[in-house]
Symmetry: C2
Subunit: 344 residues, 2 copies
């Protein structure tokens, strides 16, 4: 397990690490947003470094962007003892980690997640990768960063929509592992004043799961709750100009659909579903889905990484605070769940 | 360390493995040569499987070819429990291993090396990867195959030029680890009648080195003898239509240049260099190098993975049968070594 620093001291800790380890070179990966809003906050803590800038957004999480990053790393004469500082959200973290992991068969990287989503999710667990032909994270490797630095003040640079997106993964962590927090927080919702504490709690849940099963042989799949259908929704909408969803927005839809399936399979009570539904609908705007969307989405879900052959294996809830993985779900069931959502 | 099967039984062992493990699907990666000459020999031993065919040659060891392989793997509905059987030389083995290692963050693969070169080198040690903008194996990961199956009869399908190419890595193994074998075999050369034994001996040397230092933190670099300059020669010639060299042909040049540098740095005796020179020149045709070639080649060597910053770290010989790694070599020294070769 890598070290995760959370709090006001995080940037000092980053400074210490870059100072104390003998990296040959330091490069910082940014997009236009983190260059404008986050890089000025981090720069005073950095030693001499190079900048590599890419375009923001999931649409750029591709091998083509990786080729650009590798070309820049090559031009800057980075080597196996260099470190890439990934300053950004999940796209920068996943893709920067991937590029560092593969450059000359493995150079170093640290994660400095700047969105709530990447702070509570992408920065922990060692998953790196890119999308491929519309399939989310289809190409990737497991590789831990040297360390993760979570600076909560970055959240003040984020639009509300980004906060909501990250909040979905926080909710997911409650749903799969902490019923008490769910019960307490569902009444507070986005009005919380203690993000640092929520982040710490979420990172702790995720770290504990990943520690038990780093390569997702089994138990780690509990983290996939909401993601089998959610990833399909996210990939699908990415191809529909004007309808693109943020990751957490898609996962919120996935969680509703998969909670519905949990009831249908007699794992979860209708009462629990109602609570989840009321809460999620109060936070996330409804996304209209046509019958054509539902057909295409359900087929897309079949390509999800978490499937064996033609069966769709899903993580479902057995109660609020506890998930079960590898639950086989059929294509018609996925369609039914999407219809349930579209009729909410 | 993965299991390596060498000998007439290798294809039976492959059959047993594919039969005894519960892989979800089997796909075989071939090029036009291995499809024609090797696949017919292997097919009787395979369960139901799919074929993925790419074009042969180092020029196709690129991310673009990987994208094609990943697209085919996706279309065939392969998943994380599938196995890719890499039937071919170093390009197929390195690139197929790379594609399997990254597909859905890690599926399975086995190596069935069909060239002498890949049997004694690429199939052992867990290095996978592709070339990038003319730089050899610039992008890659360490990932061990499930097992390696070395069937010596494939050698009968190879042109003499391919045999010579693989023979260079065998010679390298003697030069870095077994003076006695070098002394014995340099008089026999390509007239040997016991390839299976030479392969077994070479695989044993390489396996022993890799076991000590799998991620090339230090000691494994002894295997890079001949490769700092050799890789530069190989990459450079790849861009010169009509002058392309096979890997071992380039490494033979690299070994001569680096043996020369070993003498220049008072590590190796002139007498030892003469022995190496006489033997290598008797096996490998001289490749003409102009002054322009030498300038370009020496600059290219600076980008080699095995360097820190502007220093070129080279593996040199301290005597026949023993190598030392991380020997700093300057640009003018590389140029001098290439001139030595060009004037042989």
């Amino acid at each position: 397990m890598n070290t995760v620093y959370i709090g006001q001291d995080a940037l000092h800790e980053l400074q210490d690490l870059l100072h104390n380890k003998a990296f040959s070179k330091v490069a910082v990966l940014v997009d236009e947003n983190t260059l404008a809003h986050c890089y000025p906050l981090v720069k005073p803590y950095l030693p001499e470094h190079h900048l590599i800038q890419i375009q923001s957004g999931e649409a750029h999480k591709t091998l083509q962007t990786c080729e650009y990053i590798w070309q820049r790393m090559t031009e800057l004469n980075l080597d196996r003892w260099s470190v890439l500082v990934n300053l950004g959200g999940g796209v920068i973290g996943d893709m920067g980690g991937f590029c560092a992991a593969l450059f000359k068969r493995g150079s170093y990287f640290v994660q400095v997640p700047t969105t709530l989503l990447s702070q509570v999710d992408a920065s922990v667990g060692g998953k790196t990768g890119v999308d491929f032909k519309g399939l989310k994270n289809h190409i990737g490797v497991y590789k831990e960063p040297v360390a993760v630095f979570i600076y909560p003040d970055f959240l003040q640079t984020l639009p509300q929509r980004e906060i909501k997106s990250g909040y979905a993964e926080i909710i997911k962590h409650w749903l799969i592992a902490d019923a008490e927090m769910f019960e307490e927080q569902r009444h507070i919702g986005l009005f919380t004043e203690n993000w640092e504490e929520l982040i710490r709690h979420s990172v702790a849940i995720k770290s504990k799961v990943v520690e038990v099963d780093p390569l997702e042989g089994g138990y780690r799949k509990v983290l996939n709750f909401g993601h089998t259908i959610g990833h399909a929704v996210e990939s699908y909408m990415l191809e529909k100009p004007g309808r693109e969803l943020l990751h957490g927005e898609a996962i919120a839809i996935g969680m509703l659909c998969e909670a519905y399936l949990s009831v249908k399979k007699d794992l979860l009570t209708k009462d629990a579903l109602d609570k989840i539904e009321t809460f999620l609908v109060s936070v996330y705007e409804k996304v209209p889905l046509t019958e054509d969307d539902i057909q295409a989405l359900s087929r897309l879900a079949l390509h999800d990484k978490k499937n064996t052959g033609a069966t769709i294996n899903c993580t479902l809830l057995q109660r609020i605070g506890s998930a079960v993985y590898d639950q086989p779900v059929t294509l018609p069931e996925i369609q039914e769940a999407l219809r349930y959502y579209s009729l909410l």
